[in-house]
């Protein structure tokens, strides 16, 4: 089909014009269907999970954005919503859940703790889930309001609509852990986890 399209000359247009047009059309159809029927996998741990539930309940109702079906099994989910803080003890769990999700998959990091560790800069807490799984949308707030989460979902829609089946540079492939069992190089994890803001002032005295 590709050859047929390429050989058909259209005056004044690049020979790939029709191919590009067709790809664009396919991408548009695929992405629109993906974006508008996201099945979220709520990985709710802490306070943000309560706001997540509020978002799912009647007043905010994210079913309006195509998220009617919540997939409580990662194997039938499109988007992992990590709602709440993530201690180290839970890190292998979220990684396994992420690995079990089929492609294409996206991750929303909901709340300050999931995105950066938040106020918990201590021995127990992962300083941002992006050291464990790749993240597409960060929703700030402690916890984010339901409107914030909905905005994050809409941003994800936008991102999905920019992806392409034909250009893999715009899509993220499966990223397995490296041989050390890490997603990022250790220096980068240390850099991401560096104390910032108020947490550089944590002293016991005074």
């Amino acid at each position: 089909m590709k050859r047929v399209l390429e050989t058909k000359e259209v005056p004044g247009q690049s020979p790939n014009y029709l191919l590009a047009k067709a790809q664009h059309l396919i991408d548009w159809a695929v992405n629109a269907s993906r974006a508008n029927s996201l099945w979220p996998m709520p990985f709710g741990t802490a306070c943000c999970a309560i706001e997540f539930m509020a978002t799912a309940a009647s007043r905010y109702d994210f079913a309006r954005f195509g998220m009617e079906r919540q997939a409580f099994s990662p194997r039938q989910a499109d988007v992992l919503i990590c709602a709440g803080r993530l201690p180290f003890k839970l890190a292998p769990v979220i990684r396994r859940i992420y690995d079990q999700m089929p492609q294409p998959k996206w991750v929303i990091s909901m709340g300050a703790c999931a995105s950066t560790g938040g106020i918990f800069d201590n021995y127990a807490m992962v300083q941002g889930i992006d050291t464990i799984v790749p993240v597409d949308v960060y929703v700030p707030g402690c916890p984010p309001r339901p409107e914030g989460l909905l905005y994050g979902v809409l941003l994800l829609h936008k991102k999905i609509k920019g992806e392409s089946l034909f250009d893999h540079a715009q899509r993220r492939d499966e990223q397995p852990l490296d041989e050390r069992g890490l997603r990022l190089p250790p220096e980068q994890i240390d850099e991401i986890s560096e104390p910032f803001g108020n947490s550089i002032h944590q002293f016991r005295s005074g």
């Binding site: 741990t45 306070c47 309560i50 509020a54 309940a57 009647s58 003890k89 839970l90 106020i119 016991r204």
Partner: protein, 428 residues
């Protein structure tokens, strides 16, 4: 509490000679144990539930050993949400700890704020103003209502009813609006300060709360009508997860769990704080100590909270909100910006914190989940040596293996739901 009028058909076969609930064989009939004898240990099966499972109310992990469908042993694994709160508290001023308390039991943040503030005030010997006392009662009871609403909603989902969840969350949204009106935040309120409150309530808030108090019982009655006499609900909750009064005391259960087992102990009545003894309210007590009684106790507590809120609104006195001592409590922002002296106090408190005298204080308050204790030890500096939370749902959850033993796997879900855990507090 009203007497139950429903005949118990689906109860457990009672207790075995050792006093444990007898196992229900798959045929679920009394006498099957004798007919078939003890099952083979080799046929047991291990099932792992959680840490990511919608019916575990967070990141609880249960390793269940099953004989057929009967639970032989439950081993809860907690700690998946351990966030090091108590360690962080050693690095914070007393007022800086209050935002942390929001995030322990995030279903009733305002009550946690109150619990911590009361302990810090006892440590420093501070007497709060009458208006502040009444406002804190309002905060506590609002928290009780939203926490019990979440419990009702999620438990009914666990047992297969979706509608009460939507009703309960609608009521929560109304309280969230009120909390937002008062504190600016829906969930993480940080409403108290040591020696006062972060903000006074407006007339709109009082009017809104009054309207809520008037209309909210309607939803409660609706939930009552749907669940209390519902055959499925009754069948799945009555006689399930029984704790006797002695066991409940021995396991240090508290809150609705303790009262459902027939121990009439309520911190509000028996160790009054915030002048709770001057309010008129009843303490609902169960008779059987099963999941159904816990449901009845919590439902009735919602009504009683409503009663207390009504009385608190009646008596809300005028007058100052915070204590007068400028060394202990921040001056109003407008004064800190215009008055030199107030600015100095502001600066000192923010930079150095308020020093507490050497000593220690334990204050327990009746949180929706049970007794929330705050134990503070001070060595005379502005940061506590030890901030200990007595986590009610952690201690209640410890009785889960005892309660679930011998029940069906599906009952385990009901029992686990009836404990009313919130993992932020279990793991801290």
């Amino acid at each position: 509490m009203s007497k139950r009028t429903i005949a118990v058909e689906l109860a457990t076969p009672g207790l075995d000679p050792q006093g444990r609930p007898a196992r229900i064989p798959l045929e679920a009939g009394v006498g099957a144990l004798e007919r078939y004898g003890e099952p083979d240990a080799g046929e047991h099966m291990l099932i792992n539930i959680g840490p990511q499972h919608p019916a575990t109310h967070g990141v609880l992990r249960l390793v269940v050993e099953l004989d057929g469908e009967t639970v032989v042993r439950v081993i809860p694994h907690v700690g998946y949400l351990h966030s090091g709160f108590e360690k962080l508290g050693e690095y914070r001023h007393y007022n800086q700890i209050i935002p942390l308390t929001d995030r322990t039991d995030y279903l009733s943040p305002m009550a946690n704020n109150v619990g911590f503030a009361l302990a810090a005030e006892q440590l420093m010997g501070i007497e709060i103003t009458p208006r502040c006392t009444v406002l804190r009662v309002i905060a506590c009871e609002m928290s009780r209502i939203i926490s019990h609403m979440v419990w009702l909603g999620t438990t009914s989902i666990d047992l297969g009813a979706f509608t009460p969840f939507l009703w309960a969350f609608q009521e929560r949204e109304r309280i969230y609006n009120l909390q937002e009106m008062w504190t600016g935040a829906r969930l993480t309120t940080s409403v108290t300060r040591v020696g006062g409150m972060m903000a006074d309530v407006t007339d709109d808030f009082v009017a809104g709360l009054r309207q809520f108090v008037d209309t909210y019982p309607k939803t409660l009655h609706e939930i009552d009508r749907v669940l209390t006499r519902n055959a499925v609900w009754v069948g799945r909750t009555q006689g399930v997860g029984v704790m006797t009064a002695q066991e409940a005391v021995n396991y240090s259960l508290s809150g609705p769990m303790l009262r459902a087992s027939g121990v009439p102990y309520d911190m509000r009545r028996d160790k009054p704080y915030l002048a709770y003894d001057s309010y008129e309210f009843d303490v609902p007590v169960g008779e059987h100590g099963d999941v159904y009684d816990r449901y009845l106790v919590r439902l009735e507590e919602c009504h009683q909270s409503n009663r207390i809120l009504r009385q608190a609104l009646e008596r809300l006195p005028d007058g100052p909100l915070n204590i007068g001592d400028p060394r202990l409590i921040l001056p109003p922002k407008s004064r800190a910006m215009s008055d030199m002296e107030a600015m100095i106090y502001h600066f000192k408190q923010v930079m150095e914190g308020v020093k507490a005298p050497v000593g220690e204080a334990y204050v327990g308050i009746e949180n929706p989940k049970g007794e929330l204790g705050t134990y503070l030890v001070s060595d005379g500096t502005a940061k506590p040596v030890r901030w200990r939370i007595r986590p009610p749902s952690f201690i209640n959850l410890a009785a889960l293996p005892k309660m679930a033993e011998g029940h069906l796997l599906s009952d385990l879900i009901a029992i686990n739901a009836s404990v009313d855990i919130v993992m932020g507090e279990v793991d801290r």
